[in-house]
Symmetry: C2
Subunit: 434 residues, 2 copies
């Protein structure tokens, strides 16, 4: 159409998310055009491998192996970075912002580590920065919190934000199998990487809660400020005891804001079986948000996979285009924090309930000596149960009232030294306030 | 601050939502200001009753009983309409749009009846139109679908969008009580109006699914195009039979798009007990969306109440302000449909499964004569069960395979004429594809 404006997009990276994004932009081109009243054109695609272009039917004329062909092209309005990892992705993003280009990225590492400086860089250069796809795949989550709940103070966020660990824990819960077998199933299904530690140890979830907490609480939390603990020590026994107590074990990413500061942590957590989050199983993600005006809310959906993340990237591209077409580059980053959080609470100061499983020699006085230590460390017990086993060693399950983590650690250290105690089976935080 | 821009807001209506909105705008003023880089000022408030101003500590200087003081004020950028109902609300909205003012409204009646013409009016006048609060209270739902899923084709929406009916059905399910008693409890709790028919008969939900379908499917569905059926005929027997079959009964608002056209309907529905929507109880609302790229997604939260709706109104005001500050009035309405849906499918053509409960005289041959009619009307049965009762009249429960509604209606008419049939107890649509 003569005179119709065109927004030009440069796409970096043709992996799973990149190729899905390209596919959506091509397939939905006419619909997006009529929506924007302007043409949305993928004018250049970059990937290290030339073969990637062929695999996705990308014409030679718009393909390059040199990212500078995108960053340095004055005609390109929006740079979409989808290669992941810190470098060279961060340099590409910075370079684009410095040239006043709006950036859309799915890169949780870059945002969780360097979000603060990139927001500042975007502002200085009158460029937009969008990263909906960095958390929760296709779920319109960051936009939902940042824009949809703009009138609210967010007090608490609880997220199931890693599909792999949720799949593993779901299988353990549904099929009664142990961690290693569930992980094997996840690998067979393609839900776990060859080296699954990034997911299993909570690293992925830690990045995501850092971003969620930053958006929600108004200052940037970096990933190294997040306490994290993975799921590899969770046993079928714990799953089953939790169930008897009315709980489900999830890898929960938690963010809370109070007068004392900000809590940000990722760890296996006992959550009430009746809570909506307990019904979020398999690879699905969900984030539960508590706010002062809107009340409780939940966002649920597909947290991973090319099409899902591609959906979020395209949503960002559309908003970025709208922003550019109206002559402003004021994007998602407007209203985002540009300072760092200096009030993240140490995990030792956490006030929580705890589920504790001890392997104990079944002998008179065992319970007395253990509960004596809890008492001395100012930890009061909500319930104690002993399993009936035919062996000399039995499980003792303690559920505490609210207690300070530092005290619990000290108590467990002392308890592990008691003669009757064979092993600290597990100590898992609980969230009843959900 | 010298030189800081100001966005001026005029607020019409100081009911529950209006006063909550005013409260949030005043309370969060400095946070919203730092977010926008501009001052957000409530410069005029209108209500019929002068006493409303006192009740909410609104200075006389910014209070009026004449709405024209807002609509005709050239300095006011955003008009927030919160009186509800068709007239005079619609005239106020039109008047504001005609004067190039951006409008934020929570008015589901006006949007569900006249959304199409108001979007056109907004465009003609370069004004913005926002109505997040018209559906799902504080849940960032419309923005989530319209913007967050912009790259997707939405295929199906399933919503629990009325808190009153969800509360009533939840109580019937949890406490085993009948409809009338559950409704009484809802009234005592303040969840049902003195005249509850607007909620109970599905009128409220019909407005909301009309808006949701319009946003999702790209053409305006008006409320009169929505098939609706209320929950007043649901009995404890149905709840309990449904439970035995693995289902829960919800008042479901359904929108589907296929090659044949658009389905939009509100009615009691059997949904699988394992589905996330089945866990949405009490007054909560949730909308489940199926899309081609992002996959399944769910939005959940508080669907009613002043603070919750006020939260959505303020989110709209913030986005509208951003739009105004960047020198454009291109609001939420950009990209919304401006044509009417002419392909809404007649309910008679619905293809669904049905749960049918008949009151039948316990006599040999009864089942044969009834199932004979089903067969003749091309309805095949998935299951039949008879309850054991000590009376002459028993319940016969049929679950059909997929069948055409028109055939089911005809079959039930014929069946009601059979000598052995005392009563058609109920016929409830099922959604297994959820």
């Amino acid at each position: 159409m003569i005179g119709m404006k065109t927004v030009k997009v440069g796409l970096i990276g043709l992996g799973t998310v990149g190729s899905a994004t390209y596919g959506i932009l091509i397939r939905e081109r006419s619909r997006l055009q009529s929506r924007l009243g302007a043409s949305l054109e993928v004018s250049m695609v970059a990937d290290k491998e030339r073969s990637a272009a062929e695999a996705h039917d990308i014409p030679d004329s718009i393909f390059t192996t040199d990212v500078n062909d995108i960053i340095d092209d004055d005609d390109i309005d929006i740079v979409v970075e989808l290669i992941g990892g810190m470098e060279p992705a961060k340099s590409f993003i910075s370079g684009a912002l410095e040239r006043g280009k709006t950036v859309v990225t799915a890169n949780k590492e870059v945002v969780a580590n360097s979000g603060c400086e990139l927001v500042s860089l975007a502002r200085e250069n009158g460029a937009g920065l969008y990263f909906e796809a960095s958390v929760g795949g296709g779920i319109p989550l960051l936009r939902g919190i940042h824009q949809g709940l703009a009138g609210n103070n967010v007090n608490e966020i609880y997220g199931i934000v890693n599909g792999t660990t949720n799949y593993v824990l779901s299988k353990m819960t549904e099929e009664g199998i142990e961690f290693s077998q569930a992980l094997e199933e996840a690998t067979e299904m393609g839900y776990a990487e060859a080296d699954p530690s990034y997911d299993i140890d909570g690293v992925d979830a830690a990045h995501k809660i850092a971003i969620l907490a930053s958006i929600s609480f108004g200052s940037w939390v970096t990933v190294d400020q997040v306490f994290k603990e993975g799921i590899s020590s969770i046993t079928q026994k714990d799953i089953s005891h939790a169930k008897d107590l009315g709980y489900v074990i999830k890898l929960l990413a938690v963010g809370k804001r109070s007068g004392d500061g900000i809590e940000v942590r990722v760890h296996p957590t006992l959550i009430p079986a009746s809570h909506l989050l307990a019904s979020v199983s398999d690879i699905y993600n969900a984030v539960f948000v508590n706010t002062d005006s809107a009340g409780p809310g939940l966002f649920y959906g597909t947290g991973a996979g090319g099409a899902s993340a591609g959906s979020a990237v395209v949503a960002d591209v559309v908003e970025a285009s709208r922003s550019i077409l109206t002559g402003t580059r004021m994007g998602f980053e407007s209203g985002l924090p540009d300072s760092r959080a200096d009030d993240v609470i140490d995990i030792g100061d956490l006030n929580s309930r705890y589920y504790i499983r001890l392997r104990v020699i079944d002998r008179p006085g065992a319970l007395a000596s253990i509960s004596g230590v809890f008492g001395e460390e100012d930890i009061s017990l909500a319930s104690v149960r002993q399993t009936e086993e035919k062996t000399e060693i039995v499980d003792l399950i303690f559920v505490t009232h609210m207690a300070i983590e530092r005290n619990v650690s000290r108590a467990l250290k002392r308890i592990s030294g008691l003669e009757v105690v064979r092993e600290i089976g597990s100590c898992i935080r609980m969230e009843d306030s959900l």
